[in-house]
Symmetry: C2
Subunit: 389 residues, 2 copies
């Protein structure tokens, strides 16, 4: 990627619905989060020049082509909009596209809103449709749904490195601890290692409490160029790094099951652009769809050496205000995982952390936050790095 862009990009405001089982329609929750972000940014809707919506299964609530519906409900129907899908990584990819357009000078301020509304359709429908995000020819139609695919990664990790099922469980326990302080979180419930170990086996070695929930929810941020941010006299956060990468779509096409190539590519790009290394990051929101994923993520992002992530989780290094705070929001595991919203929700958390809006779950003295959000088993990934001003 070139570095010829003409504008610095900032996050000016953020908003989110609660994550969980929501009664309102997909359109309504998308508008609710968007309006909250615009209000938080301290601007009027008409100052928004384009809308980037991320969503995967609009069909579940009978509304695709969400962009114009949202823009019309915000009173700015004349503004262009679009929907972006990259499975569970949709939100971060949409953020990246919006970032690129602002960086290039195409728009001075845009709305980035992610949404998913699926819980009303039931577990069978949701599991089936989510499997369409895998490489369906090789995986989904062979019966390999995501718990099974991540179980393969977990089994390989446990076999290869110094790690136990209890270590994986400690990731869930930590994220539930963090989520207790997040009023928007789906599962606000303290759990223990024993709770995880005694929960029903979903796909061995992963048990129910190793898995994030299906959630509804919408998250939104307003991003803009730096002059626009300064003109609106608000606390804002700078985007200092953006990277993307890909992996073989099917797990069977990869050389190793204990690393995600797209994360490493995206992180390398983002660190290079930001001019920092993993050591400079104060906290990160990472993609913990299953406990093993968070462990792998923390290694692929360079926070720990390969094979040392499970031990770091066991020793509490990733707890709030540990050596590096991972998922202070509660992560996908506790905050929830409305798949089209998740990547935007991570940015909401970073914005709130770096502007003093995160209450009891605040990472002390944080200056630099990172988001990592992938699709499927990491077939696609985006990493972004943010700095307080």
């Amino acid at each position: 990627m070139s570095a010829k862009f003409v504008e610095n990009v900032c996050v000016l405001g953020a908003g989110s619905t609660k994550y969980g089982k929501l009664d309102d329609s997909i359109s309504d929750i998308t508008v609710q989060a968007s309006a909250a972000a615009i209000e938080n940014a301290g601007i009027e809707p008409k100052e928004i020049k384009a809308g980037y919506i991320s969503n995967v299964f609009g069909v579940a609530d009978k509304q695709v082509h969400l962009g114009p519906v949202v823009m019309s409900n915000l009173g700015i129907s004349e503004r262009p909009s679009l929907s972006i899908e990259s499975a569970c990584g949709s939100g971060s990819v949409s953020f990246r596209e919006a970032y690129a357009n602002v960086a290039a000078g195409f728009y001075d301020a845009v709305l980035v809103t992610g949404v998913e509304k699926v819980t009303h359709t039931g577990t069978e429908w949701t599991t089936t449709y989510f499997s369409y995000c895998s490489d369906f020819f090789y995986e989904g139609q062979a019966g390999a749904s995501f718990p099974g695919l991540f179980a393969s990664m977990a089994r390989a990790y446990l076999n290869e490195f110094d790690a136990t099922e209890e270590d994986l469980a400690s990731v869930a326990v930590k994220n539930h601890d963090n989520g207790l302080s997040n009023p928007k979180a789906h599962l606000r419930k303290k759990i223990t290692i024993d709770d995880v170990m005694n929960s029903a086996v979903v796909a061995s070695p992963l048990k129910l409490f190793d898995c994030c929930p299906f959630s509804d929810g919408a998250s939104s941020v307003v991003i803009c160029n730096e002059q626009f941010a300064k003109d609106h006299s608000k606390d804002y956060v700078k985007v200092i790094g953006s990277g993307r990468g890909g992996s073989p779509a099917a797990l069977q096409g990869r050389d190793h099951l204990t690393t995600i190539p797209s994360t490493k590519l995206a992180a390398a790009d983002a660190y290079k652009m930001a001019g920092i290394t993993a050591k400079d990051v104060d906290f990160a929101e990472v993609h913990d769809c299953f406990t093993v994923a968070e462990v792998v993520d923390t290694e692929d992002l360079g926070f720990f050496e390969k094979g040392k992530g499970a031990k770091a989780a066991r020793n509490g290094e990733t707890r709030l205000n540990g050596s590096i705070s991972i998922n202070p929001s509660g992560g996908l595991k506790s905050k929830g995982h409305p798949i089209g919203a998740t990547g935007v929700g991570q940015v909401v958390e970073v914005f709130e952390q770096l502007t003093g809006q995160s209450g009891q779950r605040t990472v002390n003295d944080a200056k630099i936050g990172l988001t990592q959000n992938f699709g499927a088993t990491g077939a696609s990934c985006a990493v972004h790095i943010f700095q307080s001003v």
Copy 2:
């Protein structure tokens, strides 16, 4: 939109599957079109730095998250990709995002591929799912499917202006004439005004032959910066204008039924960027999902005064090598309408026209071509302008 972008953008190659009822999977046809475009561009897959896929109903063939599957099948799994949806305007919006990224210098060459695979699901499923592209709260759930909504526009047009049902029929007849010379077209069949007038009423005043078909198909282009184009010594085409706009999502929110606000906004932006007016355009691929749409499009794009489009069609002005050739490819009506592919397919036609690859349907001495592609009843629209070198 600012004009601070750093690179001129060119179309270097194009490819397409046949449009119609296809047997291969959505993944396979996407890869087929992509590989054809890359071969036509005279480059290797590894020279592609990112993949922009447009698709609406991946669920119909059990594959969303198409990007990584396509990139993996092309042997470039490490490259980032994404899917873009903007209803029937998905292809042009994806092209626009890819354009913006190349213009900004983020990538030197990218793949833009659109696809849809729905015919195997049957008319009832397809009609139902397509209705989710409307403002479903106000339209779809009230029983207003797209034929009904465009029939409202047609009735208003016939009531307000010098126009007859036969004039609308003449659009279908002309597009079928053009499609006869397009080997990729779905409906290659000469028809007469009487054929249209005697076909079954779908939603009065629109009859079956006023409506485009449901199609499967994939179309792809390679776009790049000008230096990359020159380095590869190929015929290429410059993108000289790009514009987008929005309209109230539901038809009931508009002031008039006989114009599409998003088209006018997108065209104004694109003409301004290109530094030309409608008079300078030699031919256009426009969004003729229903015959009345083409008439309205040709007015909103400035080719004819408001209310004069039907008469122009009646008089043959829009025929191949008429005063302005409209839809030399056969348009959505004859070439077909695989909704995620259509906007990219329009660019394929413009590229083939401006590089001498369009055979019997060639627009003589054409230098400037325009594409206009919208979603739903025009809730979203993108216009692009291209010039031969």
